[in-house]
């Protein structure tokens, strides 16, 4: 993974000093709240319902064991012994004290981390595929370009006061595990007809109040032009994005209003002026960063060991965990292990300090000391020997981290909702907890298969409800919490936005409504058909009839 050099280290330390000074000025009363707010937001510090919330950047979701231990240390020392992993592949602390935040940022800087640009109308943490570098289908490791974009976007002087926040994701190949089409700029690595490596550049995707799927601005961009092209898009957006209404300020609205042809013309015209020269990625710098992401020294192993099959046969719980949580690796004899942060009835994405320390230890023992955070709020050990999976599984069981539900209906995405967030209209976590228990019960009797269930506590859609095969949106209806259900969303390469099924359900009835939908799917699915496939085959009506007849 990327390691800071002397320049990067000097830079984050300067940033910590700057914020320490700003906090002191605020606590002394020299800065008013109005003046301080934008400054703290630029360091990821929000004031939420009960306390401050600090959002720490985990660039493209990659952590070393050392960094994970520091995150545990911060939770233990300055917070209530836990942290919350988010759909932006970041971590949030829910209870830090303002006076402690400069020291927390110093602790982060000591392990090459920061909270820069995790809030505010600027370019946010660049996200990627959690299987980057180990997926068989990728053209090149997308994290190399995420890191280049991370550096370029850090304190970018022109783009710190955009119309609205700006999110970029990069995926390495055909398969999309990074919800690329729901980003302000989405990037897929591509190979041209003559074999050159480059990118397909998309723009205008997003969720929120007006969900939209990104459109292709340029089908193929050679690697060296990455920064000039992205800068051209940002410059068009900075000048022409709406600033009169924050719900219409994202680039998706601009692109929709301008039309893709005209938008492309503007971007290309801007790009013509700045491409070549200073913006070109120097080949040596690309190679320098590429070297950090070189594959670890894999041992030469046989594809599938006999022992592994025996272990699965003798231990059905292990076999079930392997079936759901383990994915194929490009190197023979290795596997990708997904660690679920979705225990049945638990809080999606939460991890205790003790769990973070355990994962750090396990990563060192089994996976070259590297951990990834996924946008579905889970963790990944990407380089585990197949022969070590049983030992890893047993350790995970000890720490409550072996829930065999990756990608299933109890692997729920949920935003913090009104239990923490000052923007929320309704609670998300207690709904997800009750749903998780109920759906677990159903899943014990019938294999529900892949079904992504996502819950947001407000229209900002941090819980990705638009792209859940089942999505739930919390709304405030005359002072009561209600939940609107949508079906048919997908964040993958077959991207789609869910359809709202009908009137919202109260907090008391939403769980049984979801149960009705899931049970109806079980009744009408054909052999091996996933929920999303059934939905695309039969449409909304059968579910709707079932739901509103029953309730």
């Amino acid at each position: 993974m990327y390691r800071y050099d002397e320049f990067d280290s000097a830079f984050v330390n300067q940033r910590v000093s700057q914020f320490k000074n700003q906090v002191e000025r605020r606590l002394d009363g020299e800065l008013t709240e109005d003046e301080f707010k934008p400054l703290r937001l630029m360091n990821g510090l929000y004031l939420q319902l009960h306390a401050y919330m600090l959002r720490v950047a985990i660039p493209y979701g990659v952590l070393s064991s050392t960094q994970m231990r520091q995150l545990a240390h911060i939770a233990r020392t300055y917070d209530k012994d836990y942290g919350h992993f988010t759909t932006r592949q970041n971590i949030q602390y829910n209870w830090p004290k303002l006076k402690d935040v400069p020291q927390i940022l110093q602790d982060l800087a000591d392990v090459e981390m920061h909270a820069i640009q995790t809030s505010g109308n600027c370019i946010r943490n660049v996200t990627s595929d959690q299987y980057a570098g180990v997926a068989a289908d990728e053209i090149e490791d997308p994290r190399v370009y995420c890191e280049i974009l991370r550096q370029w976007s850090t304190l970018h002087p022109e783009f710190a006061f955009l119309p609205r926040k700006f999110k970029i994701a990069v995926a390495g190949g055909e398969q999309d595990r990074a919800a690329v089409k729901f980003h302000d700029i989405g990037i897929y690595m591509r190979r041209s007809d003559d074999g050159e490596i480059g990118f397909e550049i998309l723009a205008g995707g997003g969720q929120g109040r007006t969900p939209m799927i990104a459109q292709t601005v340029r089908a193929f961009l050679p690697r060296k032009h990455l920064l000039s092209y992205v800068e051209a898009i940002l410059r068009v957006y900075n000048q022409f994005g709406r600033r009169d209404n924050k719900y219409k300020a994202r680039i998706k609205i601009l692109l929709h209003a301008t039309g893709i042809e005209e938008f492309r013309r503007q971007v290309e015209a801007e790009w013509e002026q700045i491409k070549d020269g200073e913006y070109d990625l120097p080949e040596a710098e690309m190679q320098r960063i590429l070297a950090y992401f070189a594959p670890p020294e894999y041992e030469k192993l046989d594809a599938a060991g006999r022992d592994f099959e025996v272990h699965k046969f003798e231990n059905p719980d292990f076999a079930q965990w392997v079936e759901h949580n383990v994915a194929g690796h490009k190197a023979p004899g290795y596997a990708i292990a997904n660690i679920s942060l979705k225990p049945v009835g638990g809080i999606p994405g939460d991890a205790t300090s003790e769990q973070m320390d355990s994962v750090a230890d396990l990563a060192e023992r089994f996976s070259f000391g590297e951990i990834r955070v996924t946008h579905r709020q889970n963790l990944v050990l990407a380089d585990v020997k197949q022969a070590d999976l049983l030992a890893l599984y047993r350790e995970l069981c000890q720490h409550g981290l072996a829930t065999p539900n990756h990608g299933t209906v109890t692997d729920i995405i949920a935003c913090p909702g009104l239990d923490y967030c000052s923007l929320a209209n309704a609670r998300s976590i207690p709904v997800s907890q009750r749903l998780s228990e109920k759906l677990h019960e159903i899943a014990r009797a019938a294999d529900i298969g892949d079904l992504h269930l996502n819950i947001s506590g407000c229209i900002n859609a941090c819980g990705h409800h638009h792209v859940g095969a089942i999505g739930i949106l919390g709304v405030d209806r005359r002072g009561e919490e209600y939940y609107q259900i949508s079906l048919g969303g997908s964040a993958f390469e077959d991207a789609s936005v869910g359809d709202i099924i009908g009137p919202a359900f109260s907090a008391d009835t939403v769980v049984s409504a979801i149960e009705t939908i899931v049970r109806h799917y079980l009744e009408i699915r054909t052999d091996g058909e996933r929920f999303i496939e059934t939905y695309r085959r039969v449409g909304l009506t059968p579910f709707k009839e079932k739901l509103y007849d029953a309730h």
Binding site: R26, L27, D28, G29, E33, L47, Q48, L49, H50, A51, Y52, K80, D81, Y82, N94, W95, K97, L98, K99, G345, I347, D350, L418, D419, Y420, R427, I429, P430, V431, Q433, R434, G479, E480, E481, S506, A507, D508
Partner: protein, 115 residues
């Protein structure tokens, strides 16, 4: 005729606080000074905002409350959650009850209100 109290967050740690009158604040809604008219509330908000330790208080505002069984409860559920702490099912995030307020919200279930 509604009843109102003034609330804010404490600057140093973000804690939810309530104005008790006389330039003082408490972490417990039970201690809050209750106004029963909008005009009085506006005056109280002004007094609260001019607290000498004003830089210790962030964004004071008024909320509507009602009395039930000798206690004060916010009308809106958002404020109920602010007053009580997260309603998620874990022990580490629950706001500890002050000794005097033990019976103000006896069971977490009552607070969960169906969730």
């Amino acid at each position: 005729m509604g009843m109102y109290v003034i609330t804010a967050n404490r600057l140093s740690d973000g804690t939810v606080i309530y104005y008790t009158g006389a330039q003082n604040w408490s972490s417990w809604i039970a201690d809050a000074f209750v106004c029963d008219s909008e005009e009085d509330t506006a005056a109280l908000l002004e007094s609260a905002s001019s607290t000498k330790t004003f830089c210790d208080i962030v964004d004071p505002y008024s909320i509507e409350v009602y009395r039930e069984a000798q206690t004060i409860k916010p009308v809106r559920y958002r404020e109920a959650i602010r007053a009580r702490g997260p309603s998620t099912h874990t022990s580490s995030t629950e706001k500890p009850m002050p000794p005097a307020a033990e019976n103000q919200d006896a069971t977490p279930d009552a607070f969960l209100n169906g969730l």
